[in-house]
Symmetry: C2
Subunit: 123 residues, 2 copies
């Protein structure tokens, strides 16, 4: 992930914040539980990450009337800006990885990691 960190160096975003934005960009606004699953972040970490992203104008948060326990997170304007400015570079990094490792090996790796995760479903 070092290349991603380099990409984000100028923006002040962390990898995890970037992941939050990407998930929201892909699936649209969602509540914190799902967001934490999709982004691979623990709920307690996500709480704090969203807080700092809100004060940085990267995301918005609102409580739906249907269930006032929930927090629905969405992309804010500065978040949209960061996404637009870095999407291409991120794709390039991903392609570069695929090229260097090889399509086949990358897929094998992902499969094996998934199998590993299922050995102990807590993760």
């Amino acid at each position: 992930m070092a290349p991603i960190r380099e990409m984000l160096a100028g923006t002040g975003l962390t990898e995890q914040q970037w992941r939050v934005l990407r998930v929201l960009d892909e699936f649209g606004p969602m509540d914190a539980s799902r967001l934490s699953r999709e982004a691979g972040l623990m709920a307690s970490s996500l709480t704090r990450i969203v807080q700092s992203m809100m004060t940085d104008g990267l995301v918005t948060r609102e409580t739906p009337a249907s269930d006032r326990r929930r927090q629905v997170i969405g992309i804010a304007s500065r978040g949209q800006k960061v996404l637009v400015e870095n999407r291409d570079a991120a794709l390039e990094i991903a392609e570069n990885l695929r090229d260097r490792l090889g399509e086949r090996d990358l897929e094998r790796l992902l499969d094996l990691l998934e199998a590993l995760a299922e050995v102990d479903p807590r993760n």
Copy 2:
């Protein structure tokens, strides 16, 4: 690594502290640079980890006269005790993983991870 954490729950050790003990147990005393490589810890993290392990009586630290920049880390008595008390359980956890994932897949996974690390040698 969750099972390892469970194993250590009673001891007050962290995964990383356990890794430090295991490396020292396998290779004997060594300086901090090598220890950080072998245990997969950043030098700055290792500094703090060794400090807290020293105050917990898990490891010792001394400066060799030949190079007074170095810190040679060794196992202290309580560290030896923790090792002895958990070595078997740790082996069992490793075997269990090998069984569940399969010898072949585990090896493939390790190979692929190594290849991945070499794509970007910074890690």
